[in-house]
Amino acid sequence: MKDEQEMVLTDPSSPSSPEDVSRRKFLQTGVFGACAIYIGAIGYPVFRYLNSPVEASQLASAVKEVTLDKANELAVGTAFMFKFGTSPALLIHHADGSWVAMSAVCTHMGCTVKFDEGAKKITCACHGGVFDAATGENISGPPPRPLERYDVKVNDASVVVTKIS
């Protein structure tokens, strides 16, 4: 009891006994730990924020071309989903025989879009966005921009999709 009383009366920053020193050490560790969590919680988003364009350009430079084996056998009037780098993309073989490839990431909030065979439109289930299946143009709903188009080359064994630079 005497011990505790003294601790109160004296300045907490001047340890009086060895027990107090270890206690202070322990507390200091705790405070540093809390600070570390805070710095991490603030620093991580800030780093990712500043690093964002770096990540984006790394992603973009990583994959410029994708070869889809046997995709040339895709039936007329149907579509095929594939990964372009890390993001989903759509390859459509239109009824008129033309081939179109575009990103399947909705330009509104990033949901994956779907080819609607019946209506010949590309639709986004999240917020009801609709795109033109031939051009990727945004027709209705909230999307602000058209879908990103890719170049398509069809040969005997595969389909090659290339980023338009």
Binding site: V8, V31, A34, I37, M109, G110, C126, H127, G141
Partner: protein, 459 residues
């Protein structure tokens, strides 16, 4: 649907449960943690001869009795009322399964209440040793109520495979123990115990913050420091508890958490991740604020500071509960019953026979709009409101009939890659019923419906 729908405008039914529960939990956890705090402090008093602690502890035990015995008990009953009205089907399932569990909890609860009263009124009236024993009796019985209710609460998160295998056969109670000691039972108990101990420290600071007597200042200073240390277990073991929870969760729940991490940039369906981050941040803030307000300069602590700490604890608690509720989506009982009271094994029947014909409390003949509203009340209103919380008016803004049809089709198909699947139950019912719902939703999106008017007109 065997029960009528309780239509709560504005906040919606779930928040009625939510508000009462958060209030209740803040007191109930104190009832458990404070129940350990009091006899532990009393034991220290006797062993170390700290007689000056006595008046302060008496004061604390009075607040303890009033808070837990009155507000804790009453709000606990309030939860019963609320869940019975908002989620009758799930409540019924829980009762069928755990009726004996609740009976046992009730026994401990009665012992707890009696012990708390005896403890407060017999300070200095019975031998000290006996008084301390009453305190420990309280501590044990109140901890046992947590031990039991924790089994029922964690059951809804992870009902265990053994129970799911017999679900719907009428012999569910045979798997009582598997359901009770389910996969998340122990991590949940661990986390809740930590929270109870932290709250015990914070509530003690409230009592000590209100001690203004000059003569007691030195004592108060010692006790404030001692109480601040009750938060150390939480501060140190929180990551352990969270990690333990994470590995025992259902894979689907884990997926929802990581979904939030990967799409956090686009701000889509990420509430649960954001809220879980808040839990961690707020808990660290509580620890930091206790350090600055109480530990560093205990003399300067006031009741206001202590109430601010309690407010922070309330934020941490509600964030955690919110995250828990969201992770459980689209179920109310994981893998068994969807949030809108539809059992997984009934989906087929509703799709072929129709949802409304299988729902009591609806007139047999209805106009399309009334039918749509009945569908809305039955299948949407357990989470959405018309124009308040998660308002359909707002969510459907600028969507024409075609977009609504498409949305309902996506919800009905319930494809594995549907973005809604992780949060929303499938939409059930025949094509006609779903079309009626679309008619109703279109009116809602244009702001053309008077609440409940259409349904009343049909009667």
């Amino acid at each position: 649907m065997n029960y009528p729908v309780w239509d709560v405008p504005g906040v919606g039914g779930p928040w009625v449960i939510g508000i009462i529960s958060i209030f209740h939990v803040l007191i109930a956890w104190f009832a458990v943690g404070g129940g350990i705090y009091l006899p532990y402090a009393e034991r220290k008093l006797y062993r170390e001869g700290r007689e000056e602690w006595l008046p302060v502890l008496k004061k604390h035990s009075r607040m303890f009795l009033v808070l837990t015995g009155v507000f804790g008990a009453v709000s606990g009953v309030g939860i019963w009322f609320a869940i019975g009205l908002v989620q009758p089907e799930a409540t019924s399932t829980l009762i069928h399964n755990f009726v004996f569990g609740w009976a046992i909890e009730w026994v401990f609860f009665v012992i707890e209440l009696a012990a708390a009263a005896v403890y407060y009124y017999t300070w200095d009236r019975i031998p000290r040793e006996l008084h301390l024993k009453v305190g420990w009796l309280y501590a044990i019985s109140s901890f046992l109520t947590l031990v039991i209710i924790n089994g029922i609460l964690s059951f809804m998160m992870t009902p265990s495979q053994a129970w799911l295998n017999v679900a719907g056969t009428g012999t569910e109670a045979s798997q009582f123990w598997a359901a009770f000691f389910n996969p998340t039972y122990f991590p949940s108990l661990f986390m809740r115990t930590l929270a109870c101990l932290s709250l015990a420290g914070i509530y003690a600071l409230i009592t000590y913050g209100r001690v203004t007597d000059e003569a007691l200042q030195a004592t108060r200073t010692v006790m404030v420091r001692w109480s601040a240390k009750w938060l150390i277990p939480m501060a140190l073991l929180l990551p352990v508890g969270l990690g333990w929870m994470y590995v025992t969760m259902e894979p689907e729940s884990r997926e929802i958490m990581s979904l939030g991490f990967s799409t956090i940039g686009s701000g889509l369906f990420t509430q649960v991740t954001r809220i879980s981050m808040m839990t961690v941040l707020t808990t660290v803030t509580v620890a930091g604020a206790v350090y600055f307000f109480a530990f560093l300069f205990p003399r300067d602590l006031t009741a206001g500071h202590a109430f601010a700490l309690l407010g922070l604890a309330a934020i941490a608690t509600s964030s955690t509960e919110y995250a828990r509720e969201t992770i459980r989506k689209p179920y109310v009982i994981q893998e068994h019953m969807y949030s809108n009271s539809i059992r997984m094994n009934e989906v087929e029947k509703y799709n072929t026979e129709g949802y409304l014909v299988n729902s009591k409390w609806n007139p047999p003949q209805m106009e399309p709009v009334a039918k749509g509203e009945a569908m809305f009340r039955g299948q949407c209103m357990s989470c959405h409101t018309r124009s308040g919380y998660r308002s359909m008016e707002r969510l459907l803004q600028k969507r024409d009939r075609k977009a609504i049809d498409q949305l309902l089709q996506t919800l009905h198909d319930f494809e594995p890659d549907s973005p809604y699947r992780k949060y929303m139950p499938p939409l059930v019912g025949t094509q006609d019923e779903r079309d009626s719902l679309a008619v109703y939703l279109e009116k809602l999106s244009l702001g053309k419906t008077e609440p409940a008017l259409a349904l009343n007109a049909a009667r």
